[in-house]
Assembly symmetry: C2
Homo-oligomer: 359 residues x 2
């Protein structure tokens, strides 16, 4: 550990030992920190100690930094208690303006590691959760530069890239890339369920695109009511924008405006293809698409083939037309590995196509 | 081949040798059919012969069945030409009422194999494309029962389950599970691109949920303007329903109605978790979630482990929080294999969680 201002045995306190708190503990301990943790549910803190995410449960008055990893609605109260001590205090909640506005203190630095996981609870904790992630920090005019530097330094130490944004800008951005999409997924799912209410099994016809779009709706409501309340302003603005845009699309459809529809879809295609990936620069990627029957042996053959060749698979999925017994194996690899990968696939008789992904 | 009414050497004609036409050719030839094919772009028909999707390019006046596999806008004209012969004629377009209404002929049976692919063109053709798929057929009062039986029989022969629906019912259903979700994905992507226009790289913050929701927007506009025009009525109704539902959500957010938001999300969760999968009944599935660094060797270790144990992986993906260097490996397997799989993972030190999927 070489963060300036810290002694040889840096100490961290985690408040809330769920998925994020547990992952913080695992990651910090791996880098030499001593980590204490508490949770409203004491059994969860005990479990966090068991899996190695904490050195001990309880409060550490000598902690250098306190991570508030509770649900958003509980952050302000927990942070106020922590600020009574001498540590730098940060949080990990997905909304920032309401929290940061309520905590005008030099030693509070609002934070949001964009590294959620579909897992829930401390058993889903992962020491590498923050590697490659963008970690938004929301310093204000009150923020002590040393406090900011410490939090940004820890984020970097855990493998993330710290990005500073005004709290409002953060909230507006997550409204459009997270909150409203989540609400829209739930809405599309409810619409489909209503439409199929008399013929439930007809939802069986829903193919991969619909399944992709509604996947996030399968999660427990959990944090979302809090998020919607705390980012009300940002969400309402984006919902209004979505409604306006859907009115535009409605008009294109009603007018049978093929050119307008093509332009609308083409603009979206460009934006999606160029959607930047990951928190850190990396090699240009290509997506390989290989029609396969998804027998386990076939999948293993392709993946081990690449493993033996040292080709990293950055992403893998099976794109189903329907979730049946076949699919297209979609692999993302670095562009520089394309020729080698393609040659190996051809040699094994795997027909495939590829396309370059955005940088 | 044992379809009643067919001779020992059944013959099929494919009009339009793209992805679906090529897949039909591959699948039919594998089952003993002789297949001829034509395409507006003759080079594509030649390519279809090269990859084994057709016995020959050209028209076969002696065909028992003609598959019109052109874009939706070209189906009616092509089907009329085909109906001048003596064959049963069917199509594969994603909209049905406009087409079926324009072809009131006993030997025409509207069809829509729900087995699209994200691939494009004949090189994406796959002999197993229809295995496990639902194949919607839209017979009308005019339809000759023998013609219907032949098309349904061929669908079954190719591994699909034929489901008969009124054309309007089909169109309304695909509006809600395919057409409007597609337009919404494009709209969300355009909204995000607009919001980030001054800070493009901030889209880097978009995590897995947003990427899932907008994935289909990455496709070429291709068939969509035709689809929107031909299913205008169904799409407008669903767009209006979506707008109404979003207004409801807007009110819940504006009123900070936590209970209402929880209920809305919970209803959607129930529906999504219970979304039926595939065209045919199959075993109950469980989803395994395994935090892994996505080094190729780790991926291969898990997949080959299952392969060696004979456990079929029905679905696989890496759920990224951000698309970086780590993820959660999400595998779908049959529930009966859960104990064996879980034991093997534990023995190798892979921490994991699981949840039961809907039937």
């Amino acid at each position: 550990v070489s963060l300036s201002g810290l002694g040889p045995d840096p100490r961290a306190q985690v408040v809330g030992t769920g998925l994020i708190g547990g992952s913080l503990g695992l990651a910090l301990r791996r880098r030499g920190w001593t980590v204490s943790g508490v949770d409203q549910d004491e059994a969860r803190a005990v479990r966090a100690v068991e899996i190695g995410a904490l050195d001990r449960s309880g409060f550490d008055a000598a902690a250098d930094i306190v991570f508030i990893a509770t649900p958003a609605g509980a952050v302000v109260a927990a942070a106020r208690r922590a600020l009574a001590g001498r540590a730098v205090v940060t949080d990990v909640a997905g909304v920032k303006e309401a929290i940061v506005g309520a905590l005008p203190h030099p030693r509070f630095v609002g934070g949001h590691p964009m590294a959620g996981s579909e897992q829930v609870g401390v058993d889903g904790a992962d020491a590498d959760l923050f590697v490659g992630a963008t970690w938004v920090l929301t310093p204000t005019e009150q923020t002590d530069p040393d406090a900011y530097a410490l939090v940004a330094g820890v984020a970097g130490q855990l493998g993330a890239t710290a990005v500073a944004l005004p709290p409002r800008r953060h909230d507006d951005l997550v409204a459009v890339i997270s909150h409203v999409p989540h609400l829209t997924a739930a809405t599309l799912m409810n619409l489909a369920a209503d439409a199929a209410i008399e013929h439930g099994t007809l939802l069986r016809l829903a193919a991969g695109g619909f399944r992709d779009m509604t996947r996030i709706a399968a999660g427990h409501p959990g944090i979302w009511p809090d998020v919607c309340v705390e980012n009300r302003e940002g969400i309402l603005e984006v919902l209004d924008g979505l409604t306006d845009s859907l009115s535009h699309v409605r008009k294109l459809v009603a007018d049978a405006d093929r050119e307008g529809l093509t332009a609308w879809l083409e603009t979206a295609r460009e934006a999606r293809v160029n959607l930047p990936t990951g928190g850190m620069p990396r090699d240009t990627s290509v997506e390989l698409r290989i029609p396969v029957a998804d027998r386990p042996a076939m999948l293993a053959e392709v993946t081990t083939l690449f493993g033996e060749m040292g080709i990293n698979i950055a992403d893998i999925e099976i794109a189903h037309s329907v979730e049946g017994d076949r699919g297209v194996l979609v692999l993302t690899i670095a562009e520089r590995a394309l020729d080698e990968a393609s040659g190996a696939l051809n040699a094994r008789g795997f027909r495939h196509s590829h396309r370059r992904l955005g940088p």
